[in-house]
Amino acid sequence: MSIVSVIHKRAFTLGLLFLGLILLATIPLYIPPYPVISLTSIIMYTIITVSWAIFSGPTRYISLASAAFFGVGVYTSAMLGEVFPLPVVIACGGLVSFILALFIGLLTLRLRGMYFIIFTFGVSELIRHFLLWWETNFTGTVGRWVVAADHTTVYYGMVVIFVVLLLTAYLIRRSKYGLALRSIGEYEEAAVHIGINVTVSKTITFAISAFFMGAAGAIMATRWTYIDPSIAFNPLFSFMPVLMAIFGGVGHLYGPILGAALFAYLEEILITKFPYYYMLLFGTILIVVILFLPSGLVGLIGKWRKGGPEG
């Protein structure tokens, strides 16, 4: 590939990205409110999925704690929503998740593979059941109301988080730090031996990815207006990002975006009318992807472009 065509390609990608951003930013001006609300949840899923992929993509540690971070964001928003303005609430939601992730990250350093997966799942479920128990026994009511924000505010909040997240993800991938993460995924012992501070890299990335999940949760709470532990810590928020990211392909930055956007769109259409068929389809697609498309949709596109098997 010649230099000219590389520059060309980059300019093209940048242009496309820019166009996409303008489209995202102006959409509420010319479409009715309902699709904007749908779009908000599509972006929400994309945020959770991309932030999941920041950590789990390169390191190959599959985390099932997304629901915990998202839910913590939701609850922070519910508790602080009356006191602080929205941007502060969002930042707080992110920060609390960040701290929780640092803590979990430090605890789980020794765990790998299957143990890590089930541990993260266990933590997220523990928080959910504990809150449920706490609310039934001490506060007396299950669930609470959140100060509502109007749908365009929520939408713009999501878009801003999404853009910041994309930038962060891109910078991490490009930096020395991203390379370190990938080498952890390839062979952790070797990474330790060549002088990478595995502990710090893993924990910080885990926390960064949690920050965005928490922020998304904090803003989503203002749209839901009513929340309880089963909504905020729904285990589906842990499973969905994994499946969406793998469906899209974790090898590239745009894989998880593509996977999440497609799936979330499908959910928006199907879930109200045929919830069981949606989940059925979901399971089927998941198995098919694992069996036949190990590198996801992006892998498929790559193959198709090159016309060769190496994609």
Partner: protein, 275 residues
Amino acid sequence: MGGIYALIAVGLSLQYGVGRVLNVSHGEFIMLGAFATWTLYTVFGISPLISLVICGPVLFVVGFMIHRTLFQYLRGASESVGAFADSSLLASFGLLFIIQNVALLIWKADIRGYSYLESSVSIHGAMFAANRLVALLFAVAISLAFYFFLTRTRLGKAIRAAAEDPATAQVMGVNIHRVLAICFGLGALMAGFAGVLISMMYEMQPNMGLEYTIIAIIVVVLGGLGSITGSLIGGFILGLIGSIVTHFDAGLSLIAYYVIFILLLLIKPTGLFGK
């Protein structure tokens, strides 16, 4: 409850310890067993104890076929054991969604239950519900039968060999694919048995599976991943803890399980009887 936990956990332990498939759809097989029993009892009037003999083998065949097709393919396509463990975990999530939603389509989302042997029995002055006693009896009998199957038969030996080291077992002439598929099938069979027994005592819902899967995972970790005897003992221990905690505050039992689970993973991830 301990006996049933042990049954469930042994099933999962077979699937994970031998086959390296952390089958999160394990609970769905329990749910299938429970609902099949409910249907057989309420529609055809067939006693739950007879459906034990019907559901078990049917689920065994289902499990066997799933492993033969899905997981065997994945095993061949994965480059390492770790990669297979990850992809099979995700595939079993797929199974979970499929089975659960097919069940929701068939049986709808209502809570179901039937009464069977509701009368109470008195043993030395202590009162027990008859269905619970029968369930416990069957759970213990099945566990024991399975234990002897594993230690005394040729196939049991092959399974233990495959758990120890699949490659070497294959060299020694064990048909590894068949053994792994049988293990998966047996896991489904155990889940089915547990489902039948659970349906005698508790109400059921198509989405009840995940809770039992989680309990099974906790028990398997408690007993040590890969140790089948460990799972048996772990099941009884957790059942006991569950009963004690429930005695004080029923809402706390799941929380207690998770706390035990997390502490265990942090302090001794190999479990009580792990290698």
